[in-house]
Symmetry: D2
Subunit: 283 residues, 4 copies
């Protein structure tokens, strides 16, 4: 209950860490985990993530924020101070393939992913049964190239209604419009079924098979308006060989996809991922 | 001394394995290791690699070949029957960076790579000392875009003179002409410092850094006339993160490159790699 | 429908492969995948696994068996010839922790594990809901050290009634008696939550933490009467570091356990695992 | 030239980071990398490693130390402040097998391991040639169980004469006496050719083969008086299968050993490894 998180980015200069840690010490907060990174100590950008324990955090939170805003001003900081127990609210978008959805639901059920999941939206009915068996409302909104505008309108309404912080595209297979993406910057996480930037776009396993690669991978990234070009959060690979046909590659791919996506979502929910330019810093 | 290797490719049909194994059994040869693969049992191509022990192989080798050619004819086989002790002869091409050369020399010295290395050719002098310390002749042939034709003429002469079977480009950094490649089909092994087909071409680590990938890799492939597009023999990757700058990626890359190249060369020398279309079968 | 599997072990000698492949060729069977291994070509044991396609296999199966028994006699073979579509029947035993059960059910549902699962037996009720949601009967049989004999009697009856071929202990946490093990030799697959033979027995994660290891693992093995000493089928590891406490190690361990167990079960169901002495050959 | 390193351990309490970072900021030092860990924020031990850049570090180093000793006193710190350019001096001990020695020499030559290597000591002559080819003095001191005392006396003298900070046992194969170990606490790095704590002691590959494991590993650890029980710095594994005999396991093992040892040595030289109780914290 007394665990908090402080997230900061600002122009790098000497004295930042000193100011922050003095602030925490003055408030009897004990640092539990601390990560920092500077793109360049001369004229770069400085990033920091601190987890701390502070006695009576719930009652002191507002006061801490007021105090810290003065420090933040001095160093021109972008910052967030929050209680760890104030968990994010996640919506999952899904289509026909359920392996990523399942992995997320199980990790969530077993407590390895900590979030609230107020709804799942599918453009097919395939996921309804499993979603509802977890006691989560499932919304079926058929989507295709043709009705993108109205579909996204409905979706955005639901996201607003349910007060959603994070959208996970668990093999959703639909392209989002700039309008939708702009409404949730760095809050939409996708899983791409290849090791980006190889085999960008459709049918990566077929193309990987044709090229005769010896490893296949998957990439989880934030969604931007450039297809498959958003900041990469996590990637991983598996070994394949000449015996594996396209169907085998897909099967092996599914196993990597669900692992990589679950890891990326977990890190995002723990505020470990910071977007900078078109890359991520993962603390 | 009695260990032999039989390599076969032919149109697939029932009866091939039976004919081969009956031939071996009739000659008292014992199968030590056997691998087979068919691209498609219906109308595909069948590949097989057998290691066997046959009493008095050295004296019986020619007779076995004569016998086997009859079977080969029946099934329209491409084939090779050879003694394992008839090792391949390898030339290493190198430039300024020595990590791949070193790895090969050490694996060779420790007996993990079995070949003869009659010469190393460099387009800079950097490698001379280490090569000569292993008692191997070093040829310095300055090469650049301008003198490619005469340089390759000299190189081809040396390869002929030394009776070379395999050419390993251990970070040689020069493009070979179609003429040179044609003289050694599926016998030139290159190491590309990226996880192909991502970041084909120059400066992959710089581009990987810009893209913010979380894994970098290396690819060993046979050289064809399409730059970096030849059949892939082996690939591997290492994890990187936001802290790694381009220099770090190169350092990490060097470690993968030497491992991947050494593995590919070892498999090639043991006749485990078969090129089919633009892919490899690795037994 | 025409896919078959031939499994063989016998004393090694020249001519085995020839006899088998001639038999298959004579019956117009096309070899799809073939693996062989000999512990020692001189006086060792020879193992082979062949997948083949044979026209009209369902109608010819009995005839093939009759024919093959003659070859088998000549070479003193242990053998099995079966249709691939004759799938094994699996019972899963479970206790309170469900991650391994879940993984198996999902791999099964998605078609990556091919078997029938006629029942799940739990010594607690924790698994009932998920098991029944898959339409599988769940049997609750409370088990402890005290009532082992009667519990196993009930279990063995159920296994007989449901005609079970494979028993998977998905974190079942109870020790089986020699009586039970003897009834299902090389048919009981366990997942041990450590990288055997390190940390045999209880509390491996606590002991791993105390020892300060940098990798933790899991091991899937056949159950024998020697606790945790049965033939190993598969192992894998994950990286950990000083920040991970015992709880973290368990969490990371769960992820390896479910992966390793699912792989071992899959290989067993495909008849890829052969027990020889106290080891496995995995084709 | 202005890069420094500050290493700290002390009882955890609020205010430590604040004091340190204020001290650095006051001296215009810019933090380049910072790592911290607390065994328990309540009554635990706090560890920190900071790399910083400080203008005119060479001339200001003594003054900084004087200043910092006051802070250190307040918090009861164990601490070290040093210039990065003040590199450690390493002695390598070797026997007949050279793969670990070679890896260290090459990583050193290529600049990936930064240290001085004033001497190599061997209890056989095998390493002389390669060591001297790098321009490093080689001392041949035959060692066995019988002459341990006098051998170690000679060795300790050499280590003193050459002012050695780190001793790397690169497959040295001799047991050191408590006397020797006590002279270099947490400064002797060994490579054990198994994945500790499995197969402690001799012949791990033979025993691994008998047990039928599917992965083999290597462990680098600090030497203490308990054989193979010292704090683990790094471990890694490779996959093996039923085809690999004891000789193959050794070959595969050599490849892991040299990688793991090189990594451990590199981290130690960069002051990234802190021993706490019988474990390591690796920053």
């Amino acid at each position: 209950q007394n665990r908090g998180r402080l997230l900061i980015s600002c122009p790098d200069q000497p004295g930042i860490v000193s100011a922050i840690s003095t602030f925490l010490a003055d408030n009897n907060a004990n640092i539990m985990e601390s990560n920092q990174y500077s793109t360049d100590p001369k004229e770069g950008t400085f990033f920091m993530r601190i987890e701390f324990e502070c006695p009576d955090l719930p009652t002191k939170e507002e006061e801490l924020k007021t105090q810290f805003s003065l420090i933040a001003q001095t160093f021109s900081m972008d910052w967030k101070l929050k209680s760890v127990y104030d968990v994010k609210r996640t919506a999952i978008f899904v289509s026909k393939e359920l392996h990523c959805l399942r992995e997320l639901l199980f990790e969530w059920q077993s407590g390895d992913i900590i979030t609230e999941i107020p709804l799942v939206i599918g453009n097919h009915e395939h996921a309804r049964q499993i979603v509802e068996s977890f006691g989560i409302p499932f919304y079926y909104i058929p989507a295709s190239k043709e009705n993108r505008a109205e579909v996204e309108e409905k979706q955005l309404e639901l996201l607003k209604e349910y007060n959603i912080d994070v959208i996970v595209l668990a093999r959703y297979m639909q392209i989002l419009t700039p309008n939708f993406v702009a409404a949730h910057p760095s809050e939409i996480i996708n899983i791409h079924h290849s090791f980006l930037p190889a085999f960008i776009g459709a049918n990566p396993h077929k193309r990987a098979h044709e090229r005769g690669v010896k490893l296949i991978g998957a990439t989880s990234h934030y969604v931007t308006n450039e297809l498959d070009e958003g900041p990469i959060i996590e990637q991983d690979i598996n070994r394949v060989d000449h015996r594996d046909d396209v169907k085998d590659l897909k099967k092996i791919g599914r196993s990597i996809e669900r692992t990589v996506l679950a890891r990326a979502v977990k890190w995002h929910l723990e505020d470990r991922v910071i977007v900078f330019e078109n890359k991520t810093i993962v603390f």
